[in-house]
């Protein structure tokens, strides 16, 4: 039983380098928390603070009811997988896996048994006596995982463990990881800048920017109800369409068409309108909403086509994902979507504008 808790955690390296500013997070047993954010947003620093490799400038790291601030990394009972794997090059695979247990004076027989079963689970038994330099990237990655798993720690920390693998292998390892950590039933903190990993693996995602948690929610909520403009643009591929529109009364002007503003957001003078490309489809005869436009770029993904459309009588652009078997005219087509799928953000603070129809606030502080 252990709960990992971060309380008002802050790390300042220099007066203007503050990669972690006031982070509050809780990770329970069996929860898989992913820290998602662009490069340099402080993900690794946050993870290193949890591991004890950096001392926080302010705030606390707690495990259960123990404050870990004064506890050395080795005594925290956490296992960490590094982005570079950091295998000890002068030790064989088996020694690499066993070393943490040896340091903790685990009996020899038990070490043997635990190393054996972990190696088997990760299918690296045949590599036991090799040095890391004689392994492929994927094999090294599995050894690094084995080294963490064998310790049966209270918390798992993983820093972009898949970023060095090729796309195919990454997909495969992702599935393995999911199963492995579901079995463990321990808090897992996973760092990545890959949103697919974040979406598929985690039970909770924290989107980070400039050391601040932008949104903390389940993956599906992050996708369907982004808390602010940054989360909306960062999560989802291809990127969400984000347009700043002028408003007149209860309508936002998108080219020639006035989009009805949802109830509950008042009547602002401008608004940021967000719409995922996959929410857009070609308009048919019966649709009431029709946005006319011209296609100026087509990107073919095989499964679908990404059309870049210039809205008629404006310089606004929309990108739409359309199935390849549908027909459209390059010079003029009409797009439509269901109004519930659109997102609205405040142009000043860029926060999500809560429409009264939305059942639940998106950035509840879990």
């Amino acid at each position: 039983m252990s709960t990992l808790q971060l309380k008002s955690l802050r790390k300042q390296f220099a007066p203007d380098v503050i990669p972690v500013k006031d982070v509050n997070l809780t990770v329970e047993d069996g929860e898989f928390l992913t820290l998602l954010g662009p490069s340099g947003c402080g993900k690794s620093t946050l993870l290193r603070l949890i591991a004890g490799l950096e001392q926080p400038t302010a705030g606390e790291v707690r495990l259960g009811d123990q404050n870990l601030n004064r506890v050395a990394p080795g005594d925290r009972n956490m296992a960490m997988v590094f982005q570079s794997y950091a295998l000890y090059p002068h030790m064989t695979v088996a020694e690499n896996i066993a070393t943490a247990l040896k340091l903790r004076d685990v009996p020899k027989a038990e070490i043997q048994q635990r190393v054996g079963s972990v190696s088997e689970k990760l299918a690296i038994t045949h590599l036991r006596d090799r040095k890391p330099s004689k392994l492929s990237g994927g094999q090294r990655q599995r050894v690094a995982l084995a080294r963490a798993l064998v310790r049966e720690p209270a918390v798992f920390l993983l820093d972009e463990p898949l970023s060095n693998l090729d796309a195919l292998l990454r997909e495969q390892v992702r599935e393995d990881l999911k199963q492995l950590f579901e079995e463990q039933q321990k808090p897992v903190v996973y760092v990545t800048h890959d949103q697919t990993e974040a979406m598929t693996l985690s039970s909770k995602v924290a989107v980070l920017l400039d050391g601040v948690v932008q949104q903390l929610a389940e993956p599906s909520l992050i996708y369907t109800q982004p808390a602010n403009r940054f989360v909306a643009s960062f999560v989802g591929s291809p990127q969400m369409n984000l347009l700043t529109l002028k408003c007149e009364g209860d309508r936002a002007q998108l080219g020639p068409v006035g989009l009805p503003l949802p109830t509950g957001i008042g009547s602002p003078s401008t608004v940021i309108f967000g719409l995922r490309p996959e929410a857009i489809r070609l308009a048919q005869a019966g649709d009431s909403l029709k946005i006319p436009g011209q296609v100026f770029l087509v990107e073919n993904f095989g499964r679908e086509q990404l059309l870049s459309v210039r809205v008629e009588n404006s310089d606004l652009k929309l990108r739409a994902l359309i199935p390849p078997d549908q027909h459209w005219e390059r010079d003029r087509l009409e797009l439509t979507w269901t109004p519930e799928q659109s997102h609205w953000f405040d142009p000043q603070n860029e926060q999500r504008l809560e429409t009264s129809s939305a059942a639940q606030p998106a950035h509840s502080s879990l």
């Binding site: 591991a51 050395a72 990394p73 080795g74 794997y85 950091a86 090059p89 340091l103 890391p132 330099s133």
Partner: protein, 290 residues
């Protein structure tokens, strides 16, 4: 275009052979050019005196012109010289590495205020022509009464080689992935254990390289050894070789000098050959992504 053009291929195969031949001829010439003086010395040490002084030169002595007399003439005292050199060089090397490595590690890993200034000082020290320090050092040696003491050589040899050792090791430590040390800390190594069991084994190639440089310097150093040590039984090899004299001042004992040179160089050659694989090998391979 993609059709294989066999005639051209075989022609290029031939060309490669020519290139290799040229390469080997070049290598051979180079080696001969570099080693010729050493070879000449080696030959001289085995030739009888008549063959050494004969004109025209005897390049390939006949069996009757060969002898071991020069080696035997060196006597048992020569072992003593070798032992002196070994003690002085070994101790200088050990002290140099034992003090230089921690200093280099601290300079590489800790964010010390004024780190740049320290580095510049280290660099400046290494720029001094060490021979110029010699008079000052003589005073120091006198002051501490260190004449005819191994310490009079060990301390300066260590000091002279420390800057280079620190600079080389520091850049090595900087290349050593920080993740390895962090990983060790998370695994539960204490700092001392981490340095001893993780960092040190990975540092061996760099230690060997810088250590050998120090050792060679100490083994071959002449001026300090000549002035600070006057007692015969404490002399090091370079001094001893230089002081081998003939029966009269008109006679230069080429044979014994050559023999002493060969004997005095052998330990160095053995040492370098022994550690050569360590120097070349990059032991950190495999620590991080390939």
């Amino acid at each position: 275009m993609t059709v294989a053009q066999s005639p051209e291929q075989s022609a290029s195969g031939l060309q490669i052979n020519w290139q290799r031949l040229a390469l080997w001829i070049g290598v051979l010439a180079m080696v001969l050019f570099c080693l010729a003086p050493a070879l000449w010395q080696l030959l001289t040490s085995f030739k009888v005196n008549e063959a050494i002084t004969a004109i025209p030169n005897v390049y390939f002595p006949s069996p009757s012109q060969l002898t071991l007399d020069h080696y035997l003439s060196l006597g048992w005292i020569f072992w003593r010289y070798i032992a002196n050199s070994a003690i002085v060089s070994l101790l200088s090397t050990v002290v140099c590495l034992a003090t230089g490595a921690p200093a280099a590690y601290a300079l590489a890993r800790l964010r010390i205020p004024g780190e740049r200034i320290i580095l510049v000082c280290v660099l400046i020290v290494s720029l001094f022509p060490y021979v110029l320090l010699f008079l000052g050092l003589l005073e120091v040696v006198r002051l501490f009464g260190l004449g005819n003491n191994y310490l009079a050589l060990i301390v300066p040899y260590t000091g002279i080689n420390l800057p280079l050792t620190i600079l080389v090791l520091r850049s090595f430590f900087q290349k050593l992935p920080q993740d390895l040390e962090d990983s060790a800390k998370v695994d539960g190594y204490t700092t001392a254990q981490m340095l001893w069991q993780i960092v040190l084994p990975l540092t061996i190639p760099a230690l060997v390289t810088t250590g050998i440089l120090t050792f060679i310097f100490a083994w071959n150093e002449f001026i300090f050894a000549l002035t600070f040590i006057t007692r015969d039984t404490m002399k090091t090899i370079p001094v001893a070789v230089a002081q081998i004299g003939g029966a009269s001042i008109y006679e230069v004992p080429y044979g014994p000098i050559a023999a002493a040179t060969v004997l005095g160089t052998l330990p160095l050659i053995l040492l370098v050959l022994c550690f050569q694989r360590r120097i070349v090998q990059g032991i950190t391979a495999g620590a991080v992504k390939g």
